[in-house]
Amino acid sequence: MRSGPVAEDAVEKPERQLGVAGVLVVGAVLLALTTLTYLLHKLPHGAWSLPVALLIAGAKGLLIALFYMHLREQRASNGLVLITSVVFVAVLLTVCVLETRTRFRPTIPPGPFPVEALPGAMEDPRSARPPEPAGPVNP
């Protein structure tokens, strides 16, 4: 029924396809990055270890998306879909974490509630009072 191309230009940019060598090189980089993550973990590490590990994971993800999932060969809209989803994951995560971090606990005068042992604490661990300081640990 219809004729002529869609309103879009060509889908793929075939000249950007990887050859076997390319695929293998990307693969080697991926394996190397994985090893790097593991080695960094072996080193003594502190507050930065998680961001660094996530950064490496992000780099690996980017490589896979671009080359193995052929984003590089495809229209920009496809990349946009991926970027949007990642952005919204980031939004959800950061906003929730930031919100929890910025809550204030009110000052508490001597409370009326010495937290009593719960009934049935012995037989059902579910309702048991946690052994460690109840509630969140302060930074």
């Binding site: 396809q17 994971a57 995560l93």
Partner: protein
């Protein structure tokens, strides 16, 4: 070969391909957001109970986790090669590579099973069943629950991926695909890469640092 009617519906071969890719990417976006809830829960609770999470993390078996990472990354490489082979008109080779990747996926699941059995023995079970004496309950119990949810949901995806790869591998080996019709292999491959990428993020947050 795509049936004649399909191209008519699409108007052009390019449109058909683009729709397939775009549809797959949108699907991938939904998968990413499906995991977002769990990642958020992890982020929030980790920031609330840093010590408990650290303590729980120290009991993870990093070796097995790393092994699994290597397994998935290698299988991804195999899948990428398979797509290349199919596009280059060697569907037989492509099929073999796909089946090999599926095999790695199965090994991954096996390793995961071994890990689970260790946790079960220790009592590091999710939710109500938590009995792990080594780590305090509050917070750590959340860590283990999240651990099971993240890895469990991921394992579910691996299982689906393995079946997809197997079907595609068999069909490819029997010559169903070729340079002019590689879309199913490409889409299946994308799914498998997605499974891999999600693991790449699950691995550091659960096992490392």
């Amino acid at each position: 070969m795509p049936p004649e009617a399909v191209t008519e519906h699409w108007g052009s071969e390019d449109a058909r391909k683009q729709a397939a890719y775009l549809g797959m990417w949108v699907f991938i976006a939904t998968e990413v957001l499906l995991f977002a809830g769990l990642f958020t829960a992890y982020g929030v609770y980790r920031s609330v109970y840093p010590e408990a999470f650290r303590a729980a993390q120290l009991t993870m078996e990093v070796g097995l986790g790393t092994l699994n990472t290597f397994l998935l990354v290698s299988s991804s490489i195999l899948v990428a090669l398979a797509v290349h082979a199919v596009r280059g008109n060697r569907p037989g080779l492509g099929g073999a590579l796909l089946l090999a990747a599926a095999l790695l996926g199965i090994v991954f699941l096996g390793v995961k099973g071994v890990e689970y059995s260790h946790h079960v023995r220790e009592g590091g079970l999710p939710g109500d069943a938590y009995r792990f004496a080594e780590v305090p309950r509050v917070g750590a119990s959340l860590f283990f629950t999240l651990y099971y949810l993240l890895t469990g949901l991921h394992a579910l995806h691996v299982t689906v991926g393995v079946s997809v790869l197997t079907v595609l591998g068999v069909r490819s080996a029997s010559g169903a695909f070729g340079p002019s019709y590689a879309t199913p292999v490409e889409l299946g491959g994308m799914y498998w890469h997605l499974v891999d990428v999600i693991w790449l993020f699950v691995y550091p947050i659960l096992y490392l640092s």
